[in-house]
Symmetry: C3
Subunit: 205 residues, 3 copies
C-alpha cells in the first residue's frame, strides 16, 4: 500500500499547511508574538488529527511518526510571521475562511478514510471524519476567544464535512479508486463550504 501511504502524507501535509496558515492569520490578528503564533498554528494544525488518533487508538500519533510535520509548522511560523506583516491581504477574513475550508475538507475526508481502514462502522466513520475536520479549528477559535466557526452565524460548516465524508464512504463502497474518491470528496467539501460562505447558505433554525 505504498501509494496509499504517500497519498495520506500528501493530504496531511496540505491540511496541516491550510490549518497552520489559518492559525497564523488568527494569531496575527490578535497581535500574538512568535511563540503565540507558532502555538496557535500548531494546535490548529495538529488538534483534529491528534484527537482522531486518540479516538482510533492509532500509535504513534501522526505528528510523532512524522517529526517533519512539526518542524514544518515551526519553520513556517518563523519565516512567514515577519513576512506576513507586509501582506495586508493575508489578514482578511476571506483568506482565513478559504484556508480553513481546505483544512476542513482535507482532514475530515482523511479522518473518515482512516476510520474506515480501522474497521469502524459507517456512521461512526462519518462522525470521526467530522470531528477530525472541525476540532483543530474549534481549538483555534476557543484559544483566540472567538466563537468557533462551526457555531458562528449558522453558515454551513460541519454539514460540509458531513456531506464530504458520506460522499467518500459511498464512493469507496462502490470501489471507486482511492485517489479519485478522496479527491472528489475533499473538493466537494471545500466547494460546498466556500459556496455556503459566498451565498450565505444556512440550515433552517
Amino acid at each position: 500500500m505504498y501509494s496509499f501511504t504517500t497519498l495520506i502524507q500528501i493530504i496531511e501535509t496540505l491540511g496541516i499547511l491550510a490549518f497552520a496558515f489559518s492559525g497564523f492569520v488568527e494569531a496575527r490578528r490578535k497581535d500574538m508574538d512568535l511563540v503565540g503564533v507558532f502555538t496557535v498554528a500548531f494546535i490548529t494544525a495538529f488538534g483534529g488529527g491528534t484527537l482522531r488518533d486518540l479516538l482510533l487508538d492509532r500509535r504513534p500519533l501522526f505528528w510523532v511518526e512524522h517529526q517533519e510535520y512539526t518542524l514544518l509548522v515551526f519553520i513556517l511560523a518563523m519565516v512567514v510571521t515577519p513576512f506576513m506583516r507586509h501582506l495586508r491581504f493575508a489578514f482578511s477574513e476571506k483568506m482565513l475562511v478559504t484556508a480553513d475550508a481546505f483544512g476542513l475538507g482535507l482532514f475530515s475526508v482523511l479522518g473518515a478514510s482512516l476510520a474506515k481502514e480501522a474497521g469502524m462502522p459507517l456512521f461512526v466513520s462519518v462522525m470521526m471524519g467530522v470531528i477530525t475536520g472541525i476540532f483543530g479549528g474549534v481549538l483555534r477559535d476557543v484559544i483566540c476567544n472567538e466563537i468557533p466557526m462551526v457555531f458562528r452565524r449558522g453558515q454551513l460548516y460541519a454539514t460540509c464535512a458531513f456531506l464530504g465524508c458520506w460522499c467518500y464512504l459511498l464512493l469507496a463502497k462502490v470501489h471507486v479508486p482511492e485517489v479519485l474518491s478522496l479527491s472528489v470528496s475533499i473538493l466537494l467539501t471545500v466547494i460546498i463550504r466556500l459556496l455556503a460562505v459566498r451565498f450565505n447558505l444556512r440550515l433552517p433554525a
Copy 2:
C-alpha cells in the same frame, strides 16, 4: 455477566438521552441550526464517557461499540428540534437543570462502576466517576459560552456526583447486588442535585 452488560447499556442510554436533551435545550436557546443542535447534543452526551474511556484505556469507545447511540442522538436531533419549537416549557431553566441532573447521576455512578471493574484504586474510581459525570456538561457550557454549571453560583454540583460515587463504591464493597447499588446511588445523586437547586444548597466559600 450478561445482565451487567444489559444494565450498563440501559444506564448509558438513559444518560445519553438526558444529556442530549440538555444539549438540545441549550443549543436551541442559542438559536443554533440543526447541525449545531446535533453537535452540541453529541458532545454533551458523549464527552464524559469518551474521556472516561480514554483515561481507562477502554477500547472500542462506548459509542464506537454501540453505533446505535450516535444514530439515536442524530435521529432525536432531527425529530425533536422542529417539535421543540412549539413547546415553551422545554426551554425553561428547570428542564435543563433536571435533564442535566439525571445525566450527571447516571454517568458519574456508571463511571465509578467501570473504573472499579478496571481495577482502579478507590479514590481514583471516585474521581473517574466525577470526571465522567461532569465533563460532558462542562463541554456543553463552554461551547455555548456559559460558565459551566459545575462552577456556577456554587450550588452543589460535583459534590452530588462525589457523594453518589462513594455511595456506590461502599454499597459494592459490602456486596449489595449490582442493580440495587447502582440504582440507589444514581437516585441519591439526582435527588441531592435537585434538592441543592431547589433549596439553593451551597458549600461554604
Copy 3:
C-alpha cells in the same frame, strides 16, 4: 533504575504542589467553594501530565498509579482553603506567577524526559515537554475565564519551557548525569520565566 523512578516522583510531587497551589489561588480569587477549589487545583495539577500520558500512551496514568497524588491535592484543598483566607499575601499575582513558574519548569522538563525515554524523536520530545508544562495552566485559566498566561501580554512563557526542554535534551545527549541535567534545566526554565515577568521580557510581535 530505582533512583530515576524516585527522582520522577519527587519532581512530579513538587510540580503537583506548585500547580495545585496556583489553582487554589486562582479559584479563591474567583470566590469558588471548596469543591470548586479542589476541582480547579486537580485540573491544573493533573491536566498537563494526563495529556502527556495520553499522547505517549503511558498506562496507567501517573495519578492512577500514584493514588496518593490525588489524595494529596484533596487533603491540601481541605486544609489550605480555610487557612488561606487569612493570608492576604497568598492571593497576590506574584504568588500565582511564582507557583506557576515552578509548575511549568518541573512538568515541562519531566515531560521532555519521559518523551525521550519513550523513544520520541528530538523535536517531538521538546513539543511534548512544552505541552505537558503549559496544558494544566491553560485549562486552569480557561475554566476561570482568564486569558491563558501562555497568551497573555506576550511575556515569555512557552519559550521558557521550550528552552528548558532543549537544555535538558542537550545535557542528556552528552551524558550529563540525570539528576544534574534535570535540575539544571528545571531551574533554567523557572529562572527565565521569573526574569521575564520581573523585567517584562517579550518576543517581538
